[in-house]
Amino acid sequence: MPGSLKKKGYRKVLKTIRDGKAIWLVGTGPRDTGQSDFKNRFTLHDLSCLLPIYDASGYFAIDLHGGARLHQNMMNNMIHPFEEARFFSSIMPNVLTQTLIRATNVWGYRMYSRNTVRLAVESFLPMIDVWRCFDFLNYVPNMAPVAEEVLRGGKIFSPAISFTESPETTDAYYLRVLKEIVSLCGGTKDIILVIKDMAGVGSPARIRRLVDAFLQKYPGLIVLYHRHSTDGLVMPAMAAAAEAGAKLFDVTDDAFSRFYGHPPVRPLVRYLRELGHEVRFDMERADEASDTVRGFIRNYDRFESQFKGFSNDVTAHRMPGGAFPSSFEQAEKGGFLDLMPHILKGMSYGNRIIKYFDVTPGSQITWTTWAAILQRYHKEGGEHSVKRLFSVLDRYFEGGERLEGLAHADQNVLLRLYTVATDDLKNLLLGKYGPLPFGWPKDWVYRSAFGEGWAEKVEAERVLSSPLSKLPDEDLGKARAAMEAEMGRSVTQEEFILYLMHPKAATDFLKFHARFGDTTVLPTSVWFNGLRRPGDQVMITIGKKPHAIRLVSIGEGVGGVKHVVLSVDNIMHVFPVELPEAAAARKTVRKASPGNKGEIGATVTGTVWRIGAKDRVLKDGDRLRKGEEVLNIEVMKTENAVKSPFAGVIRELCVKVNDRVEEGQLLAVIDPVAE
């Protein structure tokens, strides 16, 4: 999109699309492609080579934020999500930036209260133009807090309808959902409606019919078709959507396209143009982009899915592109990769028993539930047990889904099915995420999941209205205090928002960042593999200045430590690197928790030369006055008294006289008492 159009404002942008004939494209490379086929591991170093090309390619928007990337960035990429968003938005002035937001889950995995949603959305509004928002139950009230914030902030709200093919998902059903969306957004003028075919299951005829139904009802609606390639039918399905009047499509670079992401852009453009559509896109730039991708994509070989090729089975199990490879990764790490065919088959039964859409968090619930079920059956009775489960499920569906229609033994098999239910599944069954789109499952499911007393529980706890209305505002002051206690320092608003989304990932990330700085300055090969041979050098830029790191030598691992010698800006440094085995084996020093005043930590590194004061030796259980000396640490000939912060009783002395203690090491635990 030309930058001049973007400058005219979002209404003008949308009007241009609505009134024109042209088809526009959204590039999913940085976010959804990375998530679906490369486990979200793309580095900023590689993406920064690609984004200027995107900026000049004529894309409408680039999908670069949200979904699982925010979490992955903190957990595995060590990229500051706010820094990344600022960088992306500054490097691409000519395209819109897009995030994917999971309704009330925002970018996390739980339901957030209104005040948290508002805070999170607000904080990213300056950097993000298009806010694509979906709900895995298609429960539109769940989108309301995000819609309000985005529309109020003057950005483009892009509500997505989760799509699948099933007997229940008729045009009438989808039109009902759309009607609610249109009503929520005050019409169709300010939105881009997304048909979110995240598993890649829509047949061309089905999609054509749906788009047509939407446009018949709302002629001015801008429809974007989002589809993964999983079943292999993506090209004709997109062409069908275009024929029916969809104006926007999600695509990826040819060199990026694999089996679970999005269609390759150049063949799609060629095909659409051959069909007579006008497509706004620069094919030469796309060629350049693919060449750039080929230059770095080998860096991510080990993150590609274990399961290669298209899969027609997706129409039955419906696992979405984003979850497909990561499920296989978990199965491999967990040592049950061989069970995957069974698990996928189990999921295809599961989505007929409890009906919702397999997209976050639904897809995670389906996956964990059926992975656990199949592992249990397989552990108990091997292949035989699994076969028996499936034959019971077959009989159940053949018999018209009546538990009573089954033999007693078969009934027991079914009733054991959901005894592995996680809290997430139980919450789903109790309507805590919102009402299920096609009604509550049968009673036996509740009996299986909740055991005896299920009926009372359902009666008492099942939410029938909007779960948001029951959710009180979060105590943000308390949450922030918890974070600051964990970090041992005050935190910024942006850091706090990351913490609200993913508490552990955020604090771990910030600690990593404090220790190793901003590692996104490193080229990808160095990020993943380091420097290989002595003499290997990497030039990096920090701030506005160049620096060089050269590998001099890597020592043998002695005593659990390897000594790595680097020349850093021409000065040699020895870095002791602890081997992971040694780190695990090392007896960890207990540290005093900064948030707990009763845990007395060493103020300095030194030697404990006295416990108690000169005239008083202390032991466990002794009473202390406020400010009384607990012990004294000698360092460099100075005495450092460690005093009790309040009047109390010594619960535990954790050190002895002459112990060498590290700064922060737990010395004593004191319980406060009134003096």
């Binding site: 486990k39 591991r41 957990m75 595995n76 990429n77 060590m78 990593f512 220790r515 190793f516 700085g517 901003d518 590692t519 300055v521 490193l522 160095v526 990020w527 993943f528 593999n529 380091g530 420097l531 290989r532 990497v538 990096i540 920090i542 701030g543 620096h547 790191i549 590998l551 890597i554 390897k562 790595v564 680097l566 850093v568 800006d569 000065i571 440094h573 870095f575 690197v577 081997l579 992971p580 103020t603 300095v604 590194t605 030194g606 004061a613 000169k614 005239d615 360092v635 460099m636 000939k637 100075t638 005495e639 450092n640 700064e663």
Partner: protein, 479 residues
Amino acid sequence: MAVFRKIFVANRGEIACRAIRPARELGIPVVVGYSDCDALSLHVKLADEAVRLGPSPASMSYLDIDAVLRAAKDSGCDAIFPGYGFLAENPDFAEAVEREGLVFIGPSARVMRILGDKIAARKALSSSGVPVTPALEDVDDPGKVAKFGDRVGWPILIKASAGGGGKGMQKVFSADEVEESLATARSVAEKAFGKGTVFVEKFIEGGRHIEFQFLADRFGNVIHLGERECSLQRRHQKLVEEAPSSLLTPEVRAKMGAVVVKAMKDIGYETAGTLEFLVDREGKFYALEVNTRIQVEHTVTEMISGFDIIRKMYKISAGERLSLRQEDVLLRGHAIQCRVNAEDPKNNFAPSFGRIAFLRQISGPFVRTESGIYQGWEVPPFYDSLLSKICSVGKDRETAIQRMRRALREFDIWGVRTTIPLLRRIMDNPDFVAGRIDTGFIEENIAGLTEYADYEEEIFKVAGFVAEVSGLGRNVHSG
């Protein structure tokens, strides 16, 4: 002519390095002593010869009189320069040096004995007309101390009678703290100076610390080189010193200088020394003590007077007559010294030690550094935490501060925490810049002064990561 045949420097760190320099200028070879952990220290590298004194703890090396004397004699030295700390103010040592037929570069043991004992010194000074603080000189009895406090007003200070540097000094706010503080002061005094005698004096609230540098020869010639202001202290140890003090007019300076000169003439002082005063809010002066040695902060006097004080000490000890008269001393401009200590200001100045992974010391116009460290050297945990001193000089205080800011920005050290970031904050503090300082300045402003990010060069952090990935062959953080 050579002043001495060979000088033994009985010290370590920056002051030992400093003392080697004028000796070399005068063509005198220098021998230093060293403890085990100092075998590779900078003073050993700079000296002509080095003799092992003993194990690392100071009591077994730098404080071991026999070991030091033997090292000096065996290496053929005819004079010993003690620096500051360690044996510098120990009259027994000075006596032993003379007994062995060597020259102790400092005042006589007799003078040291008088001035080294705070109680005797107060008597000597006041008899020469120098004002002293109200004090209680005999303190075994907490009851007497409490009474004294009630009489002169709280708080009071309990100090070790021997030594200096504020070691063991206790500030006592009320009668019920007396017993514990007295015991602590005595215990520390015993540990640090081998002598548990303490005395008590009134604490001068909001006082400023002013000291006069003087030079004296054995022929009764005494001059002073003006004053230094040493009000910026933490834990009673000086951190920033400057000369001249913005508090003194030329008239007051001349008057106080004359008092100092007279007192030192009366006592028969030789070589260089310092008389410390506390100035209260009303501008009244009280003598605190006489330091019978070179001071850490002698540099600022040198920078505005143009005289090398240690070089003068060598010459005077060798028997030369002080060639300067008071009217030859022309003080020009303003000088500041900052102490770079291996300690963490954010953590109550807890000592920090370890290997210096990177070091860039200062250079450029109108700055000076006196340092005892080098890159790759490991800061040992056994001694004083002073690593380096940075001095700047300018036509006035403002210029000196500007130059000090520039120097502090250039100074870079990795591997140990230092006072550098705190010093940077001090130089930017509006009260400091305006000269509104007293001995409580750092304590009162500590929150703001330590409000800096713990700074580590970004490249060094990233290099730590590259080292980890390279050493392990894979990134354990990328999942």
